[in-house]
């Protein structure tokens, strides 16, 4: 177990380093420096800016500096907003993103798993067909379409929820549905097929033969095994929710990290793009790591390689 953990942590750090290197190289090889814009700057100003941000140093030195700052959780200044650092953006935006993400994750898990179980129990009946058609729809419709559609119906037409912002709890409802739509459908489908597979196995028949009630069979015997594939894709699901938030935060005007990221992308704010990418990557890698550990803990059959 310990060896496994150390190996995984090492792999994670290595991956993170590679991602940092990759984004660093990419962002530093964009044609024209970070201050190239329509507005011409004088040579002296340019030189001063280069001096201030150490842009004259050789690239490897800049990268090492960046890494050194990264270890101190300092992601550097923003090139577009004077006096703001990337840390500020993350500190401002992350609480919103985390809240929306967490609520969505809970919502997804609480609805998709019962949905999948229900569909599996009603296998082939109209309830199953209905739920699975909805799930297929959810997988195929892009989140921004769901978001705009929901916004039109519930915010503009029916006026049930505010059109933007998350000042009240009502503001979280639509982002939650739009953001979670894909994962919800996906997990519901997965849950259904995996439960169906488990229900066909011998040990379930044995349990039935022993006269255990159907509810108990499902909750105690079938669900435990059927949940394993669902846990496996929890990592990708979290990734999906995090990156999906780029668009959702933009549509619902939530001042989260995703909207800072999209803004920095459209404004070519290279340090912010780099910083938020590294932050996202670190977040995701640690989430996937946690899910992996959890996965190993609940299923003793999985060997720590």
């Amino acid at each position: 177990m310990r060896k496994f953990l150390i190996k995984r942590i090492f792999m994670m750090l290595f991956t993170l380093l590679l991602i940092t290197l990759f984004t660093f190289i990419l962002m530093h090889s964009v044609p024209g420096g970070p201050f190239t814009s329509e507005r011409q700057v004088t040579k002296a100003v340019q030189a001063a800016l280069d001096e201030k941000y150490h842009l004259n140093d050789p690239l490897w030195k800049q990268f090492l500096d960046y890494l050194r700052n990264l270890l101190r959780f300092d992601l550097g200044p923003s090139y577009k907003y004077a006096g703001k650092s990337v840390n500020d953006f993350i500190a401002n935006g992350f609480p919103y993103s985390a809240r929306v993400g967490l609520i969505t994750l809970i919502f997804v898990l609480l609805t998709s798993i019962p949905m999948g179980i229900f569909a599996a129990l009603k296998n082939g009946k109209w309830q199953d067909m209905l739920l699975m058609s909805i799930a297929t729809l959810g997988v195929t419709i892009p989140s921004f379409v769901i978001a705009s559609g929901l916004m039109y119906v519930f915010a503009y037409r029916l006026n049930w929820v505010p059109t933007f912002g998350v000042d009240s709890w009502k503001g979280y409802i639509l982002p939650m549905i739009a953001l979670g739509g894909y994962s919800l459908s996906f997990i519901a489908r997965l849950m259904r097929s995996s439960l169906l597979e488990v229900m066909g196995q011998d040990y379930i028949r044995t349990a039935r033969a022993k006269g255990i009630s159907e509810t108990r069979i499902i909750l105690k015997h079938a669900l435990r095994n059927a949940l394993i594939p669902v846990i496996t894709i929890l990592g990708p699901t979290i990734a999906n929710l995090l990156t999906g938030s780029f668009v959702i935060e933009k549509i619902f005007a939530i001042p989260g990290m995703g909207s800072y990221f999209v803004d920095s992308v459209t404004q070519r704010d290279y340090t912010t793009i780099m910083g938020i990418t590294v932050f996202y990557a670190a977040l995701l890698l640690s989430m996937i790591f946690l899910v992996d550990i959890f996965y190993c803990l609940i299923d003793p059959r999985i060997k720590y390689e």
């Binding site: 290595f14 991956t15 590679l18 991602i19 990759f22 984004t23 990419l26 962002m27 090889s29 964009v30 297929t136 729809l137 997988v139 195929t140 419709i141 892009p142 921004f144 379409v145 705009s148 559609g149 916004m151 039109y152 503009y156 097929s193 169906l196 990734a239 999906n240 995090l242 990156t243 780029f246 668009v247 933009k250 549509i251 999209v262 992308v265 459209t266 070519r268 793009i273 990418t277 996202y280 990557a281 995701l284 890698l285 996937i288």
Partner: protein, 391 residues
């Protein structure tokens, strides 16, 4: 058949000398024929295929039949919906349509837009605007004192706009710059399909090369190559694609490059798995015994054997490429304007969502149809190629 007819009773035993005793009367079906049979007997798969053909026609042939261009702007005719609520005009048989920004457009009885009336003067006190109607000095009065705005008839009564006409000039309406949505939809579909198909082809090529080399050589090469794939796989591809897109700048080419450079990972895994399992089989050993080169074995034996899973992966990859293109265009780093893409159309539509929801509906429907079609075909293909997998 002739011999058969000579027999008095077709159920009689044939003499042992008869050549047709051992004949298999059922028609021989090739593997392709078999796959096609199973594919075409699945209604959803067939529907998906037909939908794709329609989409292709719509995107590549459609633009020849429309009188408009994707970038042609008629600002006076912006935000006009596909269904017009009109009130009667002074001329018999013609109607008047009021736009969202209080302009009056004359429409004929079939629904063709004729002209926009010129604004003459504004009577702010009574909240009435005068529009010139004909050369004889005829005026049309628009009353905006209460919502909804309405045309006043000769006696000053508000005319209700309860007659509905199909917009015949712009079948699906116009967007916020007065561009024909139908035409833009055709070009947007074209871009989406183009991006998806090219990206899929490039990914297929890279994935097959990478996966088959990794699987065929095996050993340390394989572990290193697969470690790289693992690392790429841990990062969400959305981030990658956005970064590459920032680096390359927006445009069709950079989208294709961005998508092609990361999406081959799944393909590489699938191909590697297939090659790994089939390279142990006897036919490969036989090929090696008769002296075939590694290249020949790979290209003529191993890759064709893995074609089924490869095709399935490709059809599943296409919807995600389309999705990613729409996603990037939606956040503003995809196709550069004025070119239309389904994502940019959705993005444009969100600005006028409150008044003209149809602008979002049209591209959204097309995206969903494309996604559905490819998903259905992918599912059908998977079942057809490997019936054992069917659930």
């Amino acid at each position: 058949m002739e011999r058969n007819e000579q027999l008095i009773n077709p159920w009689d035993k044939l003499p042992s000398s008869n050549e047709e005793r051992e004949k298999i009367w059922a028609k021989n079906r090739s593997f392709t024929g078999d796959v096609w049979f199973r594919f075409s007997h699945k209604p959803t798969a067939l529907a998906g295929l037909i939908m794709i053909v329609f989409m292709l026609l719509f995107a590549f042939v459609g633009p020849y039949f429309t009188p408009y261009d994707y970038s042609e702007q008629v600002l006076e005719l912006a935000n006009i919906g596909p269904i017009l609520s009109v009130s009667e005009a002074p001329t018999e048989g013609n109607y008047l349509y009021i736009t969202h920004n209080m302009k009056v457009i004359e429409v004929d009885s079939s629904g063709k837009l004729i002209r926009q009336l010129k604004r003459r003067q504004d009577d702010a006190e009574n909240s009435v605007t005068y529009f010139k109607y004909d050369d004889d000095g005829g005026m049309v009065r628009l009353d905006y004192s209460e919502k909804p705005t309405a045309i006043l008839d000769a006696d000053g009564n508000r005319l209700s706009a309860d007659k509905r006409l199909w917009n015949r000039s712009y079948l699906l309406g116009t967007d916020n710059l007065g561009r024909d949505i139908l035409t833009r939809l055709m070009f947007g579909t074209r871009i989406s399909l183009l991006v998806a198909l090219v990206a899929a082809a490039v990914n297929m090529l890279i994935g097959i090369l990478y996966g088959s080399i990794s699987g065929y050589i095996g050993g340390n090469t394989d572990s290193v190559m697969m470690r790289i794939v693992d690392i790429i796989n841990t990062i969400p591809l959305t981030l990658y694609v956005i970064l590459i897109q920032v680096f390359l700048g927006s445009g069709l080419q950079s989208i294709i490059i961005a998508l092609s450079s990361v999406y081959w990972v799944d393909m590489a895994r699938v191909v590697r798995g297939q090659v790994l399992s089939s390279k142990q089989q006897e036919f490969v050993m036989a090929a090696r015994t008769i002296g075939s080169s590694s290249n020949f074995i790979l290209l003529r034996h191993l890759v064709p054997n893995a074609m089924g899973p490869i095709l399935v992966t490709v059809t599943m990859l296409i919807p995600s490429a389309i999705f990613m293109e729409a996603f990037m265009s939606f956040i503003g780093i995809g196709i550069s304007p004025p070119m239309a893409s389904l994502g940019t159309m959705c993005n444009d539509a969100t600005q006028a969502l409150r008044t003209s929801p149809y602008q979002l509906l049209m591209p959204a429907i097309v995206i969903c149809l494309i996604m559905f079609a490819f998903n259905f075909v992918g599912d059908g293909l998977r079942d057809a190629l490997d019936p054992k997998l069917r659930k």
